[in-house]
């Protein structure tokens, strides 16, 4: 598929009632937002990432997906940061509660990475596992059309290879693209993952990818896998963390950690929320709002008399142990997909792979 045909895909999706969202450049970063055409994509841009640092830079070519992942993740569409759950009105001798009835849009995601597909799969487990299904997540999730992209380049903080979540997309997409830029030639190798995907693809005139193109696409992914910016040894990680609740490394990281919650906000799997019960001045009208929350706030663990996790040490420990260990007990998978966002967007460059390594190195009960 050529660049122009990608444009056609945008039109088809919009024509089919999808709200097309994808990567675009804003305020010095590649964010996910509405995209009307391929003009809105970050053509020729890439990102340089390291702990606490993200910079947009120009590429030598005009690749559309030549960057890693930015500050946003798809969870902002599937699991909205702020949403009203219901409204209530005081009535004679009581009140009446009205559920929200707004129909969410049908989203088409453009440019979903393998780690992000894994992150979505992780949140599926959180929100779509019986007996309780989150209707807000479900309504958005069930209609989404996913155009995935195989990563052509890894970011400075990525470690999907360690987490077994990339860089090649293997499931969960309707269409998957591999972008190939070679001199003058710039094309995409497309693979359909679902019938929905086939159907849309069928409406675009594309040439069957030849063997060479397929090989090129394979090479792109293999190259990326070899470039990982970070590594994390996951051997027995759960047991490791379970026996290291008292490791002094937690004190060390607490001296640096700002408990600002950025890591949890940017994490594509973090799902925690709080609710705010509000009223207007008349007191006749009440609403409940749900907002993303984080285990780094004091209110998060507040029970009458004080917060359970008052020390920054215990809050960092909660976050990292949840991501890498308790998650496995809860959902049968790691809560970390190796996207590297928490490393890049931590204002003071705290690095989960580094902290995990430090714990492993100082594991007093090694082998026990």
């Amino acid at each position: 598929m050529e660049r122009d045909q990608l444009q056609q895909l945008f039109r088809l999706l919009a024509g089919n009632g999808y709200r097309v969202v994808g990567p675009t450049v804003r305020d010095g970063a590649i964010v996910y937002d509405d995209v009307a055409s391929i003009e809105d994509l970050p053509s020729g841009w890439t990102d340089e990432q390291d702990g606490g640092i993200y910079r947009l830079t120009r590429r030598k070519d005009e690749a559309l997906f030549g960057y890693a992942v930015g500050p946003h993740s798809w969870k902002k569409f599937l699991h909205p940061p702020v949403i009203r759950l219901w409204r209530a009105q005081r009535e004679d001798n009581g009140f009446q509660v009205n559920q929200e009835t707004d129909e969410p849009p049908k989203f088409a995601f453009i440019g979903v990475r393998s780690c992000e597909l894994h992150a979505i799969a992780v949140q599926d487990k959180v929100f779509l596992t019986e007996p309780h299904v989150d209707p807000i997540y479900q309504a958005r999730r069930q209609n989404v059309f996913i155009v995935a992209v195989n990563c052509g380049q890894s970011g400075g903080t990525c470690f999907c290879v360690s987490m077994n979540t990339g860089p090649k997309v293997t499931f969960g997409f309707d269409l998957a693209l591999t972008e190939v830029v070679e001199g003058e030639r710039h094309y995409f190798v497309v693979e359909a993952g679902t019938e929905k995907g086939e159907e849309i693809l069928g409406q675009i005139e594309t040439a069957e990818a030849d063997a060479e193109a397929r090989l090129k696409a394979e090479q792109v992914v293999a190259q990326t896998a070899a470039q990982m910016g970070r590594q994390l040894d996951t051997t027995d990680i759960k047991e490791l963390l379970y026996r290291n609740y008292d490791n002094s490394r937690w004190d060390d990281v607490a001296r640096r950690c700002l408990t600002c919650a950025n890591c949890t906000m940017v994490c594509p799997t973090c799902f925690c929320t709080t609710v705010e019960d509000v009223t207007d001045l008349t007191g006749e009208h009440a609403e409940r709002w749900r907002k993303w929350d984080s285990c780094f706030t004091l209110d998060f663990s507040y029970i009458h008399g004080g917060s359970v996790r008052t020390s920054p040490r215990s809050r960092y420990r909660q976050w990292m142990t949840h991501k890498l260990a308790t998650w496995i007990d809860q959902f049968g998978t790691s809560g970390c997909v190796g996207c590297g966002r928490c490393i890049t967007w931590c204002p003071v460059a705290i690095d989960i792979t580094e902290e995990a390594r430090a714990i492993r190195e100082t594991d007093t009960k090694k082998g026990s």
Binding site: R26, D27, G28, A29, V31, G52, I53, Y54, R55, L56, P71, H72, K76, P81, V82, R90, D252, R255, R256, C257, L258, T259, C260, A261, N262, M265, V266, E276, D277, V278, T279, D280, L281, T282, G283, E284, K291, W292, S294, F296, T297, L298, D299, T310, P312, T344, W345, P347, V348, A349, I350
Partner: protein, 265 residues
């Protein structure tokens, strides 16, 4: 609607810029409803009518800087059932608390030709240093939506939703690109109390801390990082010593001497 006696509202001013009480008048859409819900009993900026206390809800703006005000706040407390301080002046001493770090006589000489006429205290102090405060609303200035939230919460006897976490949380909820990570712009968001809606990062500048310290702020680590972004020690000192200079975790900040290796340990 069950109509109770309307609670009496009083608004008091101490050393301040008036901005926080103006926030109440800036609620253009709610002002008349507010006056209907509460009896505005004492609010000199808005009304000549003064109704006697006691007052159910007192909003106090400004810091204590004169001996007379130190007396007056005791009176305010006595006539107030529920006392809410509004703004950085009232909750942290305000910008004028910068005097607390220097000799106030020098300050007087700089501004006034005849210093003898000026009767002022050495320190500008928050209201809570003088009397019991029931709730503190942060900000320089306060956010009017938060003010309405506090008043609505008071009326319903519930806890106001004014989270004490970092500005970063608001910043991320809005999907703003972090100016510190993406642009290298120093930002106090990670140690600053939420409430403004992360406006500075939304306008492409670093947060300058006008809502004061968040819960458990790690100012030392913040300072170290600001240093690594190129802020001099003097700049670091200044950035923590502005509108909430006298708020404890900021007050005590002193830059660490920059070691060669900018390690994060």
């Amino acid at each position: 609607m069950k109509r109770r006696r309307r609670p009496k509202l009083a608004v008091w001013k101490f050393a301040s810029c008036d901005g926080c009480q103006l926030s109440l008048l800036d609620c253009e859409d709610e002002l008349l409803l507010l006056a209907d819900t509460l009896e505005i009993a004492y609010f000199l900026e808005a009304s000549s009518a003064v109704i006697k206390g006691p007052y159910d809800l007192s909003l106090v703006e400004g810091s204590i800087t004169t001996p007379a005000d130190a007396e007056r706040i005791n009176h305010v407390r006595r006539v107030s059932k529920f006392l809410v301080t509004i703004g950085a002046c009232a909750t942290a001493g305000g910008i004028q608390a910068l005097r607390n770090f220097r000799d106030v006589d020098d300050f007087i000489k700089i501004v006034y030709a005849t210093p003898a006429y000026i009767n002022t205290l050495e320190h500008s102090t928050p209201i809570a240093d003088h009397v019991k405060v029931d709730f503190e609303l942060r900000g320089c200035p306060i956010n009017k939506h938060q003010l309405l939230e506090v008043i609505s919460a008071f009326l319903q006897e519930r806890k106001p939703n004014t989270p004490a976490h970092s500005v970063c949380v608001e910043c991320k909820l809005r999907g703003i690109v972090c100016v510190m990570v993406a642009h290298g712009t120093p930002c106090l968001g990670p140690v600053t109390h939420a409430g403004c809606g992360a406006i500075c990062p939304a306008y492409d500048r670093g947060c300058y801390g006008c809502f004061g310290p968040k819960e458990t702020p790690n100012v030392r680590s913040m300072g170290r990082w600001l240093g690594s972004l190129g802020m001099s020690e003097d700049e670091q000192w200044r950035v923590f010593h502005s509108f909430n200079a006298y708020a404890k975790p900021f007050r005590g900040f002193s830059p660490e001497v920059n070691e060669k290796s900018n390690d994060q340990g």
